[in-house]
Every structure is written in C-alpha cells, then in structure tokens.
Amino acid sequence: MAILSKDEAQTILKKVLSFSTADECDATLSGNVGGNVRSARNSISTAGASDNTSLAVESRFGRRAGTATCNEFDDATLRRCVQRAEEIARLAPESPEYMPLLGPQQYLDGSRSYVAATAGITPDYRAAQIGASMALCDQRKLSSAAFLDDSHGFVAKRNSKGLEAYQQVSNVTFSVTVRTPDGTGSGYASGDYVDAAKMDAARFTKIAADKASSSVKARAIEPGKYTVILEPNALLSNVDTSLLGALMGSLDARNADEGRSFLSKKGGGNNKGEKLFDERVTIYSDPLNPEISDLTFSGDGRPQQRTTWIEKGVVKNLYSSRFWARKAGIPDLPRPNGWIMEGGTQSTADLIKGTAKGILVTRLWYIRPVDPQTLLFTGLTRDGTFYIENGQIKFPVKNFRFNESPVIMLNNLEAIGKPVRLNGNLVPPLKIRDFTFTSLSDAV
C-alpha cells in the first residue's frame, strides 16, 4: 500500500475533498517504505523494516483549523477522517497567524528525486553491502561499526483551492566508523544517494579504514588558533548539529526581525543585503540540481525554486513562514531541503598540498550552541585529525574541543575546494585560518 502512483493518490485526495463541508480543506497523502541494517565489531547487530502510508486532512472554519489522520483508505474511513478534522477545527482557538490556503501552484518539472533501483532494495542487498564493508575490515584486522538505511516514498497534496502536487523520492545512506583493535585509531566516512546503484559501502569503508590506520599514536599539540582544512563531514551532518547547517538554519526572517538572531540589527531590522562573509561565499538551493534532486514543493505547498541565500558574502534572502512573509512584506520563501555551497576545483588533497602549516579535520562532533548572539558553537574533532606541514600530512594529532562561530569561520576563509554530495547537500572542503581550539580531548 505504501507507494501510490500520482493517479492513485490524487483519486483518494479528490474523494477526501468531496467529503469536506469546511470553508477550506487541505489533504496530504504520504507513504514510505524503508529498511536498515546496523553492524558493530564487524558483525551484524540490529536490522529493521518499516512500511507506512498516512493521510492528513486539515479542515478550516474561518481562522480555526483542525487536523486528523488515518492510514486506511476505504470510503468510510476517509469520511470519518474528514469529519474528525472538522470537529477538531470547530473546537480549536482562532489563530491570529491564519493564512488562507494556497491556490494552484506551478512546480518545477524534472527533479530526479526518485530512482527505481532504490525502491528495489531487499534484505539480501543490505546484507551484501554491509557484508562487503565488514569483510574489508576483517582483512585489514580493523573493527567497524556501520549503518545502511534506505527508503523510498511519495508525497501527494491537494486542497479545496485547487492546489495539486505529487512527487516520489528515494534515498540510501551509508556511514561507517572504523577503529583499530587497540582503540588508538579511528576513521569515518559516509555517503548518500538517490540511486542505490551508486552505493558502494566498501569504497567508503576503505576511506574510513585508511583514516583509522593512519590516526594511531596521535600526538598532543597545544590548543589555540590554527589554520584548518575542514572536510565536508566536518561542515554538515545529518546526525548532529553542524556549523554550516546551523548557519543556514539561522536564516529565518522572523527571528532576525524580532531581534534574537545574529542577523538582527542594532536598533531593529535585519542584516539582509549586508556583506557578512568572505566574498567567495555563495550558497544557494536548487531542487533540480542533478546531484541532489529533491522535492519541488514545501510541506505547506509553496514551490521550492532555485534561490540564492548568500551571494559573494552578502545575505540575499531569508526564509520565513507565509504569515511572516506577508506581515514583513518580504518574498515568500520556504526553507529548502538541501544547500549548495559554490566551490572551486581543488580536492581536499589539493588543499593539503597548498598548506604550509595546519590541521586536517575529518569530522566535528557534538556541536552545540553556546551563544546565539554571535552564533558561537562548541564541539570536538573526531575520527581522523592530522597535522599538516609543507603541504603534507605529518602525523595524527589528538582531538580538540573548539569554540567557534560559523560567521567568523566564513570570514576567515583561505580556500574553497570542490563540492561533493553529503546528506542531500553539496558541500566543499574549506580551508579556514584562525579556527579556535580551546582544549584537548583524550577521545579517539
């Protein structure tokens, strides 16, 4: 039941709307089928499968709204679901932030967000992928812990104002941490694709294994300000707060206008249009990008378009709710799903070659906000930290705690490498000067 075609989904949604007696009605049908397998100590630990399809109906009477959901789709259940949404709406308080439902929208065509090969993944495929990863570590007498997770699904929307949307998505993600048996070396790598045919868990495992082997006997060097090369996994993460993710997550217009954001201006207003970063910093979103194709509509039905957020260091746009966009008189832009940071052609290896003294950081971890006023964050390096001298990696170093703001970081930019796909984003490695490490960690 989980995956419905456009016609099947819209047929159900039309039926839902036909049962509505409310002023406005919005229906969203989504389905997802997924599976995962997890390993540790070069052996399988847990595995699972899920299969969910759900309909959400929102009914509105004036400024009152109510939502009900169901996961069976016979006429009687659909009718009950609509009735329940209407009952809840009648009981709800009026919302001062009410916005009428959107009418018909034009969505971009051509997003390659779904590939059938990913939908065809079986328990045997997962076992084979993670088996190859474990075999490589067995051969090299290293210990791995890994996670393979896949899903495919659809989202369909329809409302009483004529809005209609449908799209399918698929995704497969693999991550692996490889450690030396004595626990003195650790490495990490991850990758994600729309198309499962591109997944090669062993390739990522080799990267993590190489980092693990070369990070043993790390030396302690004094914390302080260093030139760093931050690999993409040190900039964006799908399992934890990240520096680039936190920065982009702060481009909310309302917070800025209300005075509680690093983008708030003294005396009121926000810093849109101001140059806040190095002029080489350009970040945009594009749901049609062939590398990170994604949904062309947001959860509330707004179109996702190619949008430039930061251009040559200048904040060009802020996203917001529909209510705030109208109140503030700003472009009505939803927050996108993926970010693209423009870069150059240099690989991480090229950036290392051009570095006289510095530190290569594979990954940053447990990043938490310290001061929202300056977007100061703290966290630690993890799974492969190396000292660079005269263009070469000289030796592994002990992990550091950092206290740094991505705003300061993107002003201290030395070089930008070639962007790579990471967690549905395109992220380049960055070379940053004066990155602030405040203490050492014994963690490996």
Binding site: D26, T28, S30, N32, R38, A40, S43, I44, T46, A47, G48, A49, S50, D51, N52, L55, E58, T67, T69, N71, P96, E97, Y98, S113, P123, D124, A127, I130, M134, F147, D149, G153, V169, S170, N171, T173, T177, R179, E258, G259, R260, L276, D294, G299, W365, Y366, R368, V370, D371, T374, L376, L380, R382, R401, N403, V407, I408, S441, D442, A443
Partner: protein, 549 residues
C-alpha cells in the same frame, strides 16, 4: 533534513500550519480519543500469540511482540496566543526475533492476525538474510516468563483527562506574567505522554504496562534594542514520570538556592508562575551582568544543572553497548572500558556514590518491566568513587560475565527495535548534614550555576563543556553578583575526582532529560537524574563572549 524525515513530517506539517516544527509522534486525533481505552488485555494476548507463533513457524528460536499505543499531547504558546495543540496516537506492533543466531525486526500498524503474521515473517526473513554475514551469534541472559502481569505508573491525575482549556489557561497565564514583568518574548509548552505497552515473548511473559510522563516548560527572552543584545532564560522545571499533579505547587517541594541567588528549585511539584516571575527578573539582569573572568573556580552546581552533567559524564559512558563498541558509528564509545574498570582507577572522589535505578516513583525511568520483559531494579554504578558496574540488557550480560540483565531495554515506539538505554542515574546525597548555604560558605572563589544550558562532550566522554541558565559569583563564602558568558571545560575523571562535598538529602531532587537520543535510526528516551547541590574544586571556566565584525 533527511528526505525520509520530510516524508514523515509532511502529513503532520499540514496540521502543524500554525505550529513550530516538532517531530511526528503519531496520527493526529481528537483529544477526546486519548481518553478512549485501547484493546483489552485478552485481545492483545491473542494477537501477540499470533505473532509469536508465526515467528516460531518461520524459524525463529526466540521472539517478542510489543503491541503499543503511544499517546502524546503538546500545547505550544507564544506571548498571547496558542500556536498549536497537537494530540497524537500511534498504535501498532513490533516483532523482534532471533533466527540463525541473528536479530531481525519488523513492525506494522496493521494490527490484525494477517498483519502481525506478515511482520513476524519479514522479521525472520531479515534475520536469516543477515545471518549469512553474521559472526557473533546473539546470546540472551536467561529470563523466566512472568505469566500475565501488569504495572501502572502511580499517578494521581491523568493529564489527558484535564480539559485543554485549563492547560491553555495555565500557559497563557505564564506568558502574561512574563510580559507584565517586561520580557520581550515568551514561549511556553506543555507536553504529555502516555505509553500503553503490551509485551509478550516466547519466554512466557505477557506484560501490560501504563506509563505517564509530563513536561511543562517555558523560555523568556529579553532584548536591548539599542545595543542589539539579547539573552534568554529557560524554565527550571523537569520532565517527570507523573500526572498533572506535578503542576499543583506544594510549599514542601520548593527548595531555595543559596542566599542571594534568587533561585528556587522544585522537587515533586512545580510552580510555573513562580518560576516565570523569577525568570523574567533574571533574564533582564543577564543583559547587564558582569562578563566572567576566565580561570579556575570552585563550582557549586544545583541539581537542575548537575543532572545533565551526570547524564553526559556518567550515565552515557557506563552504557555497556557504548563500552563494547556497538554505538561506535553514532553516539560513540566510552573511556570506561572493561580494561579501564579492571585497573580500579578512581572514577571520582570518595564523595561520589552513583546509583542506577528503574524503580523510583515519579521518575522518567520508572517502569515495572523493561521492553524485553525483565523486571526492573536498582543497582550501584560507582561506590565511593570506584566504578563497580555498567548498564546492560539481555544480549550483553554474558560479555561481562554476568547472568542477568539490568532491565535497561527500551524502544521509543512499536515501530522501532528495542535496545539498551540509560536508566535513571543519580548522585547520592551526602550522609552528613549540609545545607546549600553551609556549602557555599566554605567557597572562597567560586561560581554557583543553576539550570542547564549549552552542553557538549566527546564521543568517549572525556572532555566536556557545559553552560547554564543563571550564574552567580561566590566570593569569600557569599553570593555577590550575577555573571554572564560562563562555561566550564573539564575532563570527566578530573571533574568527578574534584567533587568535594554534596548537600544532604533535604536538597536532593531529580532533573529529567526528556529526549535523549541514541541509536541508528536514532531513538529518543526519557530519563531522570537525582542529586543534591554539589561542590567541585578548581574547574576551568572560559568566557564565551565573542564579537562579530
């Protein structure tokens, strides 16, 4: 956001048009539906047997079935308005099996004979596929079946039975008080959880449980528009394993902080209006408070703050799955390895006695049985500074030469596989009589920290950095003034070995972590941490103020 998260949220996003974003917890329902009974026990037993039999027929050597009904209600407000009311119900069945010595798991919201049997067969299929690349076969600690038993959280008032209007009035009253007292913004929230869980296993247990949690909270923000400076102060409430009675304040549950601090702590009931009034005053003081001079200070940590430090630097490193490497790819491992423990290196000073438990009434960890059918208990983790035990479940006990699980297995819902989670982990109060003022009176140069703020710790739990909500300077035994920009950095062992004194049981109370994340796919659990106000000597304090541009 991951693509799957978006798909999962999309349905809710429609209903959450006026809401801040929050995770999808289940199907949105009429609040009155949360009062309706679920399946009766006889129906659940019959369905569970269908799952157990299907799993055994497909080749499972062990199986457990969890039929769960998870109810959540959250009310969000800001300033004078209700942003949203979310009432959700999630009902379904998860089946875990061992086949060919390998775990398999599948779940379904089709709670029928056919749906459950199909999920059981899929779980076995997954286990068999993975057994081809499996090396360490699963070994379960022996567990006798309990037959048909039940357990209910000892609540006084089911929060779901309290009219929504009363809850909205409470939150809007909190907001009104904060605005009257001059804050720029205020958000308040009330979250309630009811887990109706049925567990059955091929060991012969049929366990029916009813668990409740509640979490009231708020945040106030003060803004100085001229300078552009803003500061916030969060509530000093804790999530608890109680009913709505937590929100009826009782004088006996209030514990004053040190003289001069303006801090009030709460035990088994919470005065939200009193706390927001204190917060409104303190958040404005924070705008002009003195920026801390970095250096070594003796820290006096209140239980609402120390609870999170215990959570991160004791609770997590003693999870046996981390110690053994099962969380290496996500949450991390632990410095407290089996080899490290064998050496007998002090975890902390002699003052440090830390106990794990899953039984204290009113705590978030309290249940009768865990999610693999093990009766819960209380046990020592650290005695007089020495590590004596870990937190473990059935498939781990044999790895440390033990024959019994600690009852720490938990799943956030029927659709996720259960695994080892943290029990309540608490620092025992001092045996000698010692008040907070007496504790502070001995400190020459220190900082008193109330409430938890920024927190970060490495993947093996050595190096951590914590902030707080409110900071006060201590000079020559007295609180002198409020401080800002404070965070302390320490090494877990050095920190716990610097523990100099802890107040007696009069000051003991629980802090709670409502959404502790672990596992892949990540799952959330709730856990409490008790302590009394405690002193740590010579801790490194940094100044977190920065300038942009």
């Amino acid at each position: 956001m991951k693509r799957r998260d978006f798909v999962g949220l999309t349905g809710l996003a429609t209903g959450a048009l006026f809401l801040p974003s929050f995770p999808s917890l289940g199907n949105t329902v009429d609040p009155l539906r949360l009062l309706e009974p679920g399946l009766d026990v006889a129906q659940k037993k019959r369905l569970a047997d269908v799952g157990l039999n299907a799993a055994k027929s497909a080749g499972a050597s062990y199986a457990d079935v969890r039929i769960g009904r998870y109810l959540n209600q959250s009310i969000f407000t800001r300033e004078k308005q209700v942003q949203g009311i979310s009432s959700t119900e999630s009902f379904g069945c998860g089946i875990r099996v061992i086949a060919n010595g390998t775990w398999g798991f599948a779940s379904t919201n089709n709670v029928t004979d056919a749906g459950i049997a199909k999920a059981a067969q899929l779980a076995v299929q997954i286990a068999k596929a993975n057994s081809k690349v499996q090396k360490e076969k699963v070994q379960l600690a022996p567990q006798r079946g309990y037959g048909e038993v039940s357990w209910k959280a000892p609540i006084q008032t089911n929060a779901f039975e309290v009219p929504i209007k009363d809850k909205v009035d409470l939150l809007l009253g909190v907001n009104a008080k904060a605005l009257d007292l001059g804050v720029s913004f205020v958000n308040s929230i009330l979250s309630q959880v009811n887990e109706q869980k049925y567990f059955a296993s091929t060991d012969g247990s049929y366990i029916d449980q009813d668990i409740h949690r509640i979490y009231p909270s708020f945040g106030v923000t003060a803004i100085d528009r001229a300078s552009g400076k803003f500061r916030s102060r969060q509530a000093l409430s804790s999530p608890v394993g109680m009913g709505y009675e937590y929100l009826t304040p009782k004088a006996a549950d209030k514990v004053a902080g040190p003289t001069g601090s303006d801090i009030i702590g709460y035990k088994n009931s919470y005065d939200m209006l009193e706390d927001v009034a204190a917060a409104a005053k303190q958040v404005k003081q924070k705008l002009t408070a003195k920026s801390v001079v970095p250096g070594k200070y003796d820290l006096v940590l209140d239980p609402h703050h120390l609870g999170l430090t215990i959570h991160e630097s004791v609770g997590h490193p003693l999870e046996l799955d981390r110690v053994l490497g099962y969380e290496a790819n996500y949450a991390g491992t632990s410095f407290a390895t089996l080899e490290w423990k064998a050496k007998g290196i002090p975890y902390g000073s002699k003052q440090v006695n830390i106990v794990a438990d899953k039984v204290t009434p009113g705590t978030l960890g309290a249940v009768g049985y865990d999610d693999e059918g093990v009766k819960t208990k209380r046990w020592d983790l650290i005695k007089e500074g020495r590590l004596v035990d870990y937190e473990k479940i059935r498939d781990q006990a044999h790895m440390v030469g033990q024959k019994e699980s600690d009852g720490c297995c938990y799943s956030q819902s029927w659709q996720d596989v259960q695994f080892q989670r943290m029990p309540n982990v608490s620092l025992q109060p001092g045996k000698d009589r010692l008040s907070v003022d007496e504790l502070v009176s001995k400190v020459d140069k220190g900082i008193y920290i109330a409430g938890n703020g920024s927190f970060s710790i490495d993947q093996q739990r050595y190096n951590f950095q914590f902030g707080g909500q409110v900071f006060y300077a201590i000079e020559k035994g007295k609180i002198t003034e409020m401080l800002e920009d404070v965070a302390y950095q320490a090494n877990t062992q050095e920190f716990w070995n610097s523990c100099a004194a802890t107040c007696d049981e009069r000051d003991f109370r629980f802090f709670g972590a409502f959404n502790d994340g672990k596992g892949q796919p990540s799952q959330s659990s709730a856990v409490s941490h008790g302590s009394a106000t405690t002193r740590f000597n010579g801790v490194n304090v940094i100044n977190t103020a920065r300038k942009l541009g």
